[in-house]
């Protein structure tokens, strides 16, 4: 087997089919990048679920003076008795792990920290504007139904917010994104396979003289077919490299900045990116080899 002979044949083939080769590279690159993004969203979701579902709480907001919530109307705010009764009720619930009271001053501190860049907002809101609340940590975050039902509308309670529900909406969005990315990726992979098939067919037609003579003088099937398969593989590899670059870029500029915005709880690790890249590369090259061989069997009788 003479490697330089094969590679010169491959080079000639790729150059003759330049436009098709570019089409293959672009399709493979985008398809593989979307596949990789899908995989990365996947591990991002599970990483974020792990780190966030540990921390989610049910917030039980208490009535203040002149609170606009209907159940607080006219009550003039929660009094110490009601507050103590609520605390006892919550602590008595079997699903509850622990309860913490967040007073207005602490809520204001948290609010200031979250909106540190927004001076107008901070100056407009006073400590007295912040609601007091009980932060309820559940033993199992999925068993929130009874807790919320029991507390919603209890005297002195303005509103009950389950953070898990908010998070689940967010995760639902992420999951939709993942499915969209994977669906487009599969469609593009299919298109790439067809494109590679066409490229190989064109290439086989362009080089039918050479292959005819090779057949005649007794070149082995491998020797005749390898240049065509290599054309597909090289186009696929170049596409894969571009996809890898796209994935790295999307990690740095998309995933990491989203995490920064969300408080950086579950940053996507480089190992995840590396495994997404290697998986997409392997899939890309396998598809190229497969598409080339199938086409060759049809168009290059040996």
């Amino acid at each position: 087997m003479r490697a330089n002979f094969i590679f010169s044949e491959v080079w000639i083939g790729l150059r003759r089919n330049l436009t098709m080769t570019i089409a293959v590279i672009v399709t493979v690159a985008i398809g593989m990048a979307l596949l990789g993004v899908g995989l990365m969203i996947n591990s991002q979701i599970s990483g974020m679920k792990d780190s966030w579902f540990d921390k989610v709480e049910v917030s039980v907001f208490l009535c203040k003076k002149n609170d606009p919530f209907p159940q607080c109307k006219g009550s003039g705010g929660v009094d110490a008795q009601e507050q103590a009764a609520l605390k006892a009720t919550i602590e008595a619930m079997p699903q509850v792990e622990r309860v913490e009271f967040e007073d207005a001053a602490k809520a204001y501190e948290n609010f200031k920290a979250q909106n540190a860049s927004n001076n107008v907002l901070i100056s407009a809101i006073q400590v007295e504007d912040m609601p007091e609340s009980f932060r309820v940590k559940l033993k199992n975050p999925d068993e929130y139904g009874a807790v919320i039902e029991g507390l919603q509308g209890a005297p002195g309670v303005s509103n009950v917010i389950n953070q898990k529900e908010i998070l689940e909406k967010f995760f639902g969005l992420l999951e939709k994104l993942r499915w969209a990315a994977l669906t487009i990726a599969i469609t593009l992979v299919f298109a790439a396979a067809l494109l590679i098939g066409n490229t190989v067919r064109l290439s086989a037609y362009n080089r039918r003289r050479e292959t005819g003579i090779m057949r005649l003088v007794g070149a082995s099937n491998l020797y005749i077919q390898l240049p065509f398969v290599m054309e597909g593989v090289i186009a696929g590899l170049i596409g894969g490299v571009i996809a890898a670059v796209l994935l790295i870029v999307s990690k740095v500029f998309l995933f990491d900045s989203v995490q920064l915005y969300l408080g950086g709880t579950a940053q996507l690790s480089w190992e995840t990116v590396a495994s997404a890249i290697s998986l997409t590369m392997i899939i890309g090259v396998l598809i190229c080899v497969f598409a080339s061989f199938v086409t060759l069997r049809r168009y290059l009788r040996v």
């Binding site: 003479r2 003579i213 090779m214 057949r215 005649l216 003088v217």
Partner: protein, 229 residues
């Protein structure tokens, strides 16, 4: 060397067999003309030897191998022992004489040192010394056919098949082509040549096998083309 035993070949979608119960033996080192009108089965005969086609019935042995038992995987190795020349030369237009001949060795994985040694020898054998770096379109038809013969012979095949090698060449040049084929035959290579060219057959006085409608109608040593044409 080539042994056909009751071989019949019918192409798909055709009623009439291309070869009809043909039995023939060609010994090592023989020179055989295969004559007959177009469609008489000459090309089919050659294609069967290369295992490009399979017979519907009968057995073919080439170089001691039963082609029916030869796996597809080994067909390339059979073809390495058979050289082929055609009416239309089948040279690669973007390669010069030397490269065209060397191509046949490159694609079967011969080492470059070997190629550098044998290609000039064969180019000289076919009478193209000094023209190794010409491109095919700079050569006459006769010279192009010599290149094709050099390519067919460079791997020292046991059998050389020639399908109307003088079909595109004027009679004067054809004599030169025949001399090269004769030279190749003298090295011990078995030559089977399908042809229409009565003058050549008559002048060479070699064995003649005549086909008509897929049947052998004459098999004559030191024969002539025949009166009918």
């Amino acid at each position: 060397m080539i042994h056909f035993d009751n071989v019949t070949k019918v192409y798909a979608n055709q009623n009439r067999p291309a070869l009809d119960h043909v039995s023939v033996d060609v010994d090592k080192g023989e020179f055989v003309f295969l004559v007959g009108p177009s469609g008489s089965g000459k090309s089919t005969f050659l294609r069967l030897i290369l295992k490009e086609e399979r017979p519907n019935s009968g057995a073919i042995h080439v170089a001691g191998k039963d082609l029916a038992r030869l796996s597809n995987f080994k067909v390339p190795h059979l073809r390495r022992r058979i050289g082929c020349v055609f009416q239309d030369f089948r040279l690669l237009p973007n390669k010069n004489v030397y490269e065209n001949v060397a191509f046949a060795l490159e694609v079967i994985g011969k080492p470059r040192r070997f190629i550098r040694k044998v290609v000039p020898e064969v180019v000289e054998l076919v009478g193209l010394e000094g023209k190794a770096h010409r491109m095919p379109d700079e050569l006459s038809g006769g010279e192009q056919q010599r290149v094709a013969m050099a390519r067919a012979f460079v791997n020292r095949p046991m059998i050389l098949l020639a399908d109307e090698p003088t079909g595109n060449i004027d009679p004067a040049t054809s004599i030169g082509i025949m001399k090269v084929l004769d030279r190749i035959n003298r090295t011990g290579t078995t030559v089977v040549m399908a042809t229409h060219d009565a003058a050549i057959v008559d002048s060479m006085r070699k064995r003649v096998v005549e086909l008509e409608d897929g049947k052998i109608v004459r098999d004559q040593s030191r024969g002539v083309y025949g009166q009918a044409y």
